[in-house]
Amino acid sequence: MGALLDPLQFAFFQRGLAAAVMVGLVTAVVGSYVVLRGLAFMGDALSHAAFPGVVAAYLVQGPFYLGAAIAAIGSALAIGWVSRRGHLRSDTAIGVIFAGMFALGVFLFSTIHRYVGDLFGFLFGEILAISPADLVGLLLLGGGVLAVMALLWKELLYATFDPLGAGASGLPVAALDYLFLALIAVTIVVSVQTVGIILIVAMLVTPAATAQLLTSRFSSMIVIAIAVGVISPVVGLYVSYWLDTASGATMVLVETAVFLAALALGPRTGLLRVRRAAAG
């Protein structure tokens, strides 16, 4: 019991825990739609594309979340524009923009010739270094994303499942597509200090993928994704505290372990089931 309660005496650990819960909740909800829309690569691209924004904000001493949001949303629009303009498949356009933006970030990063520990935190996450002001911003932005998702869940569901049927019956399918990309971008801004740019895609995809292994109903998929998405980062945070390992990576590894357990034991894919079927 002491092992669980001891860290809680530190304010930085309490802040980290609050951030982990909010980020886990937001990434699980948004991530469920990311998986159903086939946007996993897009999510990865937008998080990497946020990097030059973060570095630029550091250079001009502006707020990092503004830089990250501008770079991620700008990249989402650029990907849409390039794929339409060049008649390219969207994954091709994503590949081009994503690599270019991340390279720009590394380039800007290499122009800084003093200590840049803070910036490494954005790449790999440094959840225990979140300041009280950053935590307030994170909770407000995360709450905003959850509010929009709560308002639009059924429209997003219909437009994801059958864009033609939804569009013909009057839902603004194209506007919903753009809005959802913007929600991914804000989710990335919210998560960037917790898990870091490079691993955000795991938080977006793994809880929803785990849920998909366990259920074929949308409502239970969201519930399972939220459970995995919230519990794993909390467990990961404790494990990283006890073992003194990188927090972002540890949280992602816990999620991966849960996914593998679901794969091994799940009703459709489970090894037990296969063995039972073989025996019977």
Binding site: L36, R37, G38, L39, M42, I79, G80, S83, H87, S90, D91, A93, I94, L151, L152, K154, E155, L157, Y158, T160, F161, D162, P163, L164, G165, A166, G167, A168, S169, G170, L171, D177, Q212, T215, S216, R217, F218, M221
Partner: protein, 296 residues
């Protein structure tokens, strides 16, 4: 006057030769000089077509003849390049809440984690607006629609577990639950068993009798001739439009299908892909052209 000419005159003179009671009904769909397509490739050219309230119309023609494109233009999903379109007395897309569109089965991701009930409920979403959640009225409408198509006992089933015919029934239930004035159905009877085809056509016929307008694309000429009241022969443009007997007219068929038709005495045999795959494994998709959704 050949049947083709009759069909053209029929279209041009706004159904004046038509003896159906529907001839006096107001127009639900009016297209004039309409051209539409994708990128720089036209799929439809010079379409003049008037479809009246209460009609049960099949659109037939070869693959790539523009059947689905015509439906998309009417549904407001594709903006025409030229010409005028008036759907339910409004520009395309404006009267969307009074339209139900049934998507081609091949364009649907059947592994999507939704149940029969969830899909039928989607028909109620557009009228609900943003904040409201489905209430007792919506649940009643969904239950009734599922009863009508004979799927109420499968309400909790994930859609991937259904047969081809059951999948079509569920999508028709979604349309019925929306209580629209205009039904647009892309290949509603393709790849379904005979019983399902009869059941679906009975329902659509009943809707038309209630004053709803039904327009469906089909590959199935026998179904078009026997179960629909009117037909539109389409190959990039309207070849003929008139009562469903036009489907049996060899001159209409020759002009619509060109070389893909084998004429044996009085019988015409269509060498098109009229055979479909009801026995497809659950979750197996038959993609032919386009993608179900864009990812950017």
């Amino acid at each position: 006057m050949s049947a083709v000419d009759a069909g053209r005159a029929h279209a041009a003179e706004d159904h004046q030769h038509h003896l159906h009671a529907a001839a006096e009904a107001p127009a639900t769909i009016v297209l004039r000089g309409l051209t539409a397509g994708y990128d720089d490739r036209a799929a439809l050219e010079g379409i003049d077509l008037t479809i009246r309230q209460g009609s049960l119309t099949a659109v037939f023609g070869p693959n790539g003849g523009g059947k689905s494109t015509l439906l998309k233009v009417i549904a407001g999903l594709l903006r025409p390049w030229h010409g005028e379109a008036e759907i339910l007395d409004a520009p395309p897309g404006e009267a969307a809440r009074r339209i139900a569109y049934v998507t081609q089965a091949e364009l649907v991701d059947w592994s999507f984690p939704v149940s029969v009930w969830d899909v039928a409920m989607m028909g109620r979403y557009p009228a609900l607006g943003l904040v409201r959640r489905p209430g007792p009225v919506d649940r009643g409408a969904v239950h009734l629609a599922l009863e009508q198509v004979g799927m109420a006992q499968h309400a909790r089933t994930q859609i991937g577990q259904l047969s081809g015919g059951q999948r079509r029934r569920v999508f028709l239930a979604r349309a019925l639950a929306a209580n629209p004035e205009l039904y647009l159905l892309d290949e509603p009877v393709t790849g379904v068993d005979a019983t399902t085809q009869e059941d679906l056509m009975d329902l659509l016929e009943a809707e038309a009798r209630r004053g709803k307008t039904v327009v469906a694309t089909t590959h199935d000429l026998a179904c078009a001739a026997s179960r629909f009241h009117d037909v539109v022969a389409l190959n990039r443009t309207v070849i003929a439009h008139g009562p469903s007997e036009l489907v049996l007219d060899q001159e209409v068929l020759r002009q619509t299908y060109g070389g893909h038709l084998l004429v044996l005495g009085q019988q015409a045999v269509l060498l098109d892909d009229a055979h479909h795959h009801d026995e497809a494994a659950p979750g197996e998709a038959h993609h032919h052209e386009g993608q179900p959704r864009s990812s950017a």
